[in-house]
Amino acid sequence: MKNLLRRAGQAFQGLILGALLFGAIVTMVQIETGARVFRYQGF
């Protein structure tokens, strides 16, 4: 039981790290390539 909870904690840590890693990679690509939603109204 204790071991299972430890594993759950590790998996939860992995999910948080994974989400952060994914966000960091995409944000880096976004900054590096200049990908953004271009807003241009009017003229």
Binding site: K2, G9, A11, L15, L17, L21, T33, A35, F38, Q41
Partner: protein, 388 residues
């Protein structure tokens, strides 16, 4: 002394003392177990571990594989493609879906296609209303394609027009303006770096080259060729996927918007004047872009092309641009249209729009003005459809 007894006749004091002996041993056991469990979970959560690294990499890789598998042309042209839009104002996401649908299934029968900037769009009622007005007058359905979008460039106009396909039949209405003819082609560099459309178009790429830029390398893989579109929108896309909500396209955004105040008007006037100061040197180059577009539809028996002037605030004409300038522009476009064998319409002299009908120099913000402008266009479309 009265001794309390239990229901089965046992001694209550004995029972209470027995409970007292049991409770201190049971309660700490449960608490200890919970504490130990929590501590094990926190231990796993807070200490670096290979399991966490593995889960993180697997999650990251999984999301990327899911994106590569799910973000396809088919997904972008599906009904749920609105999930990929940034918000209700993301004209180019919605236009991309519509264009991809036409590439897959070209429009059958005669259509009226409207392509141009927000100023043209805000002057007209929604596509469904125009189609209904046309159908009522013609006695048969006449679908309308609405490819009008905020700040549309020549690259996007070409790409959207090309998506109608080589077999397109009907009327192609292209928005034109003083501002468009004075546009600086170097501004298009931003759109090459940050494309707003989520599809690749040969005509769009040709337009990029004609303006002195090199289109990005095309691989034939949908996600790789359009990754910037999706990367730029990844946060709203994830949110739409998680929340199950998708934006609904807001196609007319100026209606009811208060007119520009003195400061805004002055700022717009400065920008417009600065841009128009280059009109003479840039007009022919920008007409060249229109020429390339017109050549995409060479058969006038199949496609009638109308160059339609955007609404122009009379106040801007009198105070910022000047009547002589506007007249010279009209003459230039009229001559160009004659050379190209297309039609030029300027509804401004007949629509009777007032400064109060505008939010700024070109965007109509009143429903009655929009209705009048639309009626005028429909009146002119009818004979063109009936006698091509």
């Amino acid at each position: 002394m009265i001794k309390s007894q239990t229901a089965d006749g046992g001694d209550m004091d004995q029972l209470v003392s027995a409970q007292a002996e049991i409770e201190p041993t049971v309660a700490p056991t449960l608490t200890t177990r919970i504490r130990a469990g929590r501590s094990a979970f926190l231990d796993g959560l807070l200490r670096p571990s290979l399991v966490a690294v593995f889960v993180a990499l697997a999650l990251c890789l999984g999301v990327m594989i899911a994106a590569a598998t799910l973000i396809t042309e088919q997904a972008m042209m599906a009904q749920g493609a609105a999930l990929f839009a940034q918000d209700p104002l993301d004209d180019y996401a919605f236009a991309s879906s519509e264009a991809l649908r036409f590439q897959r299934q070209p429009p059958v029968g005669a259509h009226v296609a409207l392509i141009g900037t927000a100023a043209l769009r805000e002057g007209l009622t929604v596509g469904g209303d125009i189609a209904a007005r046309l159908a009522q007058r013609l006695g048969h359905p006449m679908p309308v394609v609405d490819f009008m979008s905020g700040g549309q460039s020549g690259i996007e106009t070409a790409a959207l027009a090309e998506s109608l396909g080589p077999d397109f039949r009907g009327i192609l209405v292209l928005g034109i303006s003083l501002s468009r003819l004075a546009a600086d082609s170097s501004e298009l560099g931003g759109l090459v770096r940050e494309p707003r459309l989520a599809f690749v178009s040969a005509a769009g790429d040709a337009e990029i080259r004609a303006n002195g830029f090199e289109p990005p390398h095309r691989t034939g893989n949908y996600l790789i060729d359009n990754y910037k579109f999706f990367v730029a929108r990844y946060r709203p896309i994830l949110w739409h996927l998680l929340s199950g909500t998708a934006p609904v396209h807001d196609t007319r955004t100026y209606l009811g918007r208060p007119a520009a105040d003195t400061a805004e008007w002055a700022s717009d006037a400065l920008i417009l004047k600065a841009r128009l100061s280059h009109y003479q040197e840039r007009a022919e180059g920008n007409l060249g872009s229109l020429d390339r577009l017109i050549r995409l539809f060479p058969d006038r028996n199949k496609v009638q092309i109308v160059l339609m002037e955007i609404p122009l605030n009379p106040r801007a004409m009198d105070q910022v641009i000047g009547r002589a300038f506007v007249e010279a522009h009209r003459a230039r476009v009229q001559a160009f249209a004659r050379r190209e064998g297309v039609v030029y319409w300027d509804l401004n002299p007949t629509a009777g729009l007032l400064p109060a009908d505008f939010q700024d120099w070109a965007h109509i913000n009143s429903a009655h003005a929009q209705d009048r402008w639309t009626s005028q266009m429909v009146e002119r479309l009818i004979p063109l459809i009936q006698n091509p």
